[in-house]
């Protein structure tokens, strides 16, 4: 039995027990206390159900404000002890109770018979996709994502080398990614991509497109926003640079590769990373790392690119793309390598879950639910006025001050004034003369 199930059972038993005790308590104050206990248990159950904000509101508003109001009224009226004076209609209540309870349990029978509530699986979220331009192309290109699931094609126009688009949410389905020259619209390349629900995909266009070489390709990296353990960061490395396998090494304190008898003693984070392939997720704690890319050619290791002070932030997912720097002029041994967008602003996605958090609920309340929020506020105002009217001594009748003043000026017999003040008729006994006995 898992800890969570145990917690649920314990809270459920306390909640049901306190509710039952609330009903059978003879003293109203005890009932109110048991109800507070019940509300507390339900607040903890809300916490288990990913609803921290509702849970805190439950404690503050229900167990706090409303129950204080109840206790205040109980004390004010002195109504602690229940007074079941008349027992005339007891059998009616008994019958109604049995009828209602059996009706409610009868509602439960089909649920039990069908083996639980048949809920469909929670629907998946729309897939997210972003496009990275890491290719050598004759000019700026338009990236067009078209498919049956979207009515209008998604177009990223005038994309140049090194551009990393924002994540875009698209409906799940089959898509075609087309790269076309922005200048004349000539299509250079297209590839079909299937986006499943919940998928987060980085599509990387790499390679060259020129008269002598047409190696353009589209690499797909499966990202994930799932949180990591202990807030560690995940790093995925994509090789768009070299045909020889690359490796990523944590150089350590001496800032150089330590090789003892052909075996690297430094920590190798990624190895054997071929062209157009993506590494497994490397989990790194927060901090700065001296990292370097090495070309792995048999037993020979040549340094490709070193990154001093590679900073890793907590609870992030980072996609690192090493690509030839097509912006810089070509050297004697080809283009120099470059890591795309190392400032991480667009590559890094926070991996925190915000379901049920106050920020999300507040945003929803003040955007989608602005009218209901205003109506509820108005309802509270009406309730406030209603309470004031209801608890006035004179009730709903309006007493005009002018009529009171006018009445005061009218002189009335003292007896009627006394009668009005005391609220009862003044009985005036007129003395009666004793009837004379008939004397003869």
């Amino acid at each position: 039995m898992g800890f969570e199930l145990f917690l649920f059972l314990a809270l459920g038993i306390v909640a049901i027990g306190s509710a039952a005790l609330m009903i059978i308590s003879k003293n109203s104050v005890h009932s109110a206390m048991f109800l507070i206990l019940n509300f507390g248990c339900v607040a903890l159950l809300f916490l288990m159900l990913d609803a921290p904000f509702i849970s805190m509101v439950q404690i503050a508003v229900y167990a706090g404000a409303i129950m204080v109001l109840f206790l205040f009224v109980i004390m004010l009226l002195g109504a602690e002890q229940t007074t079941d004076t008349s027992r005339r209609f007891r059998w009616v209540t008994g019958a109604a109770t049995i009828l209602t309870a059996s009706l409610l349990f009868a509602l439960m029978i089909p649920v039990v018979l069908s083996g639980g509530i048949q809920l469909p699986e929670a629907p998946g979220k729309d897939p997210m996709v972003r496009v990275v331009h890491a290719a050598n192309l004759p000019g700026p290109v338009n990236v067009v994502i078209s498919g049956d699931a979207v009515e209008e094609d998604v177009v990223l126009s005038e994309t140049t080398f090194g551009t990393i688009s924002e994540f875009m949410a698209l409906p799940a389905g089959d898509y075609t990614v087309t790269l076309a020259l922005a200048a004349n619209g000539a299509p250079l390349f297209n590839q079909s991509v299937t986006l499943a629900e919940d998928a987060v995909v980085t599509a990387i266009a790499y390679g060259e497109f020129s008269t002598e070489a047409q190696t353009l390709a589209l690499g797909l990296v499966e990202n994930s926003f799932a949180p990591t353990e202990d807030g560690a960061a995940r790093t995925l490395v994509f090789n768009a640079y070299s045909e020889t396998p690359l490796m990523l090494v944590d150089l350590g304190a001496n800032r150089d590769l330590n090789v003892v008898e052909g075996v690297i003693t430094d920590q190798v984070l990624v190895s054997e990373l071929g062209l157009g392939s993506v590494s497994d997720a490397v989990v790194l704690d927060k901090g700065e790392y001296p990292l370097a890319f090495y070309r792995q050619d048999g037993a020979e290791f040549t340094r490709v690119l070193s990154v001093e002070g590679w900073s890793v932030e907590a609870a992030r997912e980072q996609t690192v793309i090493i690509a030839p720097d097509y912006d810089a002029p070509e050297g004697a041994d080809g283009y120099r390598p470059r890591v795309l967008d190392r400032n991480q602003e667009q590559l890094v996605v926070p991996t925190s879950e915000t379901f049920g958090a106050p920020g999300d609920i507040g945003r929803s309340l003040f955007t989608d639910y602005l009218l209901p929020v205003n109506l509820v506020g108005f309802l509270l105002l009406v309730a406030l006025v209603g309470v004031i009217v209801l608890t006035r001594p004179q009730g709903l009748t309006t007493v005009r001050r002018s009529t009171i003043n006018r009445r005061r000026k009218v002189s009335r017999p003292l007896v009627s004034v006394i009668a009005q003040q005391t609220g009862s008729d003044v009985v005036v006994d007129t003395p009666k003369l004793e009837e004379p006995t008939s004397g003869d």
Partner: protein
């Protein structure tokens, strides 16, 4: 986070709702009847939040928020009514309030 099935939460809210309904029917103290109504509202809230998690949809939680607000207004008005009745009748026993009896 899904080791407790949603059915368990719904069953618990069902039991709490029945207990609240029993309280409304059995007790004669107006304040206690009122507290039982609050218990029923709370049971409904529990079911709403459970289904909100099952569907991964925040709207269920927002609806709970509105239910809580309306419940607060309802409590204020109801307790004011009880105070007003007590002032007239010197009792909050519902058996004493039988003006509407045929």
């Amino acid at each position: 986070m899904n080791s407790v099935p949603v059915e368990a939460f719904v069953a618990l809210s069902f039991v709490l709702f029945i207990l609240g309904a029993l309280g409304v029917l059995l007790r004669k103290n107006a304040i206690l009847i009122f507290m039982s109504v609050e218990l029923m509202l709370n049971a409904a809230n529990l079911a709403l939040v459970a289904f909100a998690r099952q569907w991964g949809d925040l709207n269920g939680q927002i609806f709970v928020f509105f239910v809580m607000t309306v419940a607060a207004a309802e409590v204020a008005i109801g307790l004011a009514l009880i105070v007003a009745i007590f002032r007239n009748k010197q009792s909050i026993n519902i058996d004493d309030l039988h003006q509407m009896e045929g």
